[in-house]
Symmetry: C2
Subunit: 252 residues, 2 copies
């Protein structure tokens, strides 16, 4: 079984490398990841400049490549150039930090998994709380089990899974299948002046409100559960199509 | 009424500037756009470096600013810094080239409208066929009518509109409310060698298959209709949540 790994923390990302080491005992693992951190890069792809593919490591069941592009570029290059075929599964992560709620719209980690799903490849995005212990064996045991199930039963067409793993300091409470929650931000840009007196703005991103809705990924992770959210990427809002037909929009 | 405009073609983008000129006769228009082209940048935001805001033009009912960031950065800065309040509407575009089907996942134009909708601002993304005549008055008449309706009746919460305008060479057939179609790509990276003999890959993006499904944006535009697709951004696939609960995933 071939598994393709990527992330948005960059090819040095510890979570991804540890997972690759763990999985290579069982699967043929190929890592194709951005050469540098590309978080908050969303689903961006590189059309207007050439991409470079650099082999960093090659050993039994583990090859690692760095790309001067985005996580979604890495999936495309990984499938079409490095492997030359679809892998049996794509894992994006383990990301350093959670990817919850509407924030996944900005996430390179989740977008790479969406890109894989566009190819028809079963895919998961995996994110871990920043405060969690990356050495915790339970993380890898859980992922091994999840990956095994997906390799056996597959995933429905055009659906991927967004997995968030909390800090297990007080024990693992279990796993919850969740919906995406909502975090509302006040970006509150910090305004400041550079050494030459020119003003600039730096995005701060303060959370202003969290919906405390039971059943969301945000609440479940906060309560100590692993959250698994089924994700689709059909952005059509079907209910409104009929309604729009009744609008009297003029053309000429 | 205040309207905020942005795009992903960059602040020099002709479609956006022409629309701004047209709308300033009726509304208070503010343009906040990337200083250079940022197409295929999706919903990326800039967290790790400072943003610069440069005023380019100020006249009656029309201010134009350039930002060294992405279209979504421009919405955030436009709302929170330039205007210091939510505008009555956001228009992202007019993009040079259509944004159809699953391709909107990569689109900076559509993502900027999603960003506006996250703020609760009524928003539309507007794209025009590359072969169309940007001077065609019917484009602006139509958009004026659409904007007027939205300013009057608003849009439902968390819904925006993705508008695609075809080349009107053979007359306007009308307007269709559509769903997103699917285009499947074979990226077929072009492999080549730079002057120093180092290999590189350039994304080519050949379309391999188009679903010819009636009612999609792709087919409607091809037939000569203006396409309006209602867009949502809740990526939860609700049907599968129950199913996931029955998976026996092991933790320890």
């Amino acid at each position: 079984m071939k598994i393709l790994l990527t992330n948005d923390d960059g090819v040095q990302g510890l979570g991804m490398l540890k997972l690759a080491e763990y999985l290579k005992g069982k699967y043929d693992v190929t890592v194709v990841a951005p050469e540098k951190e590309r978080s908050a890069i969303s689903h961006a792809i590189t059309l207007h400049k050439p991409l470079r593919l650099k082999k960093i490591k090659e050993e039994q069941n583990l090859k690692i490549f760095a790309v001067n592009g985005t996580p979604s570029d890495c999936i495309k290059l990984g499938v079409e150039v490095v492997l030359g075929r679809k892998p049996d599964m794509v894992v994006s992560g383990i990301n350093n930090g959670l990817n919850l709620g509407t924030d996944i719209l900005y996430s390179g980690t989740v977008s790479a998994a969406i890109e894989a799903s566009l190819y028809g490849i079963p895919a998961i995005a995996v994110s871990l709380s920043e405060t969690a212990d990356i050495e915790d064996k339970r993380i890898y045991k859980f992922l091994e089990s999840l990956i095994e199930i997906i390799l056996k039963k597959g995933l429905p067409k055009d659906i991927l899974l967004n997995v968030n793993i909390p800090d297990f300091q007080e024990g693992v409470k279990g796993i919850k299948a969740t919906k995406l929650g909502k975090r509302i931000y006040i970006e509150t840009f910090q305004k400041n002046y550079d050494p030459r007196g020119k003003e600039y703005y730096w995005m701060a991103g303060k959370i202003s409100k969290i919906e405390e809705d039971e059943g969301t990924d945000i609440v479940s992770v906060k309560e100590g559960y692993i959250s698994i959210t089924p994700i689709h990427f059909d952005l059509t809002q079907y209910d409104m199509i009929k309604d729009l037909d009744s609008w009297s929009i003029k053309i000429e």
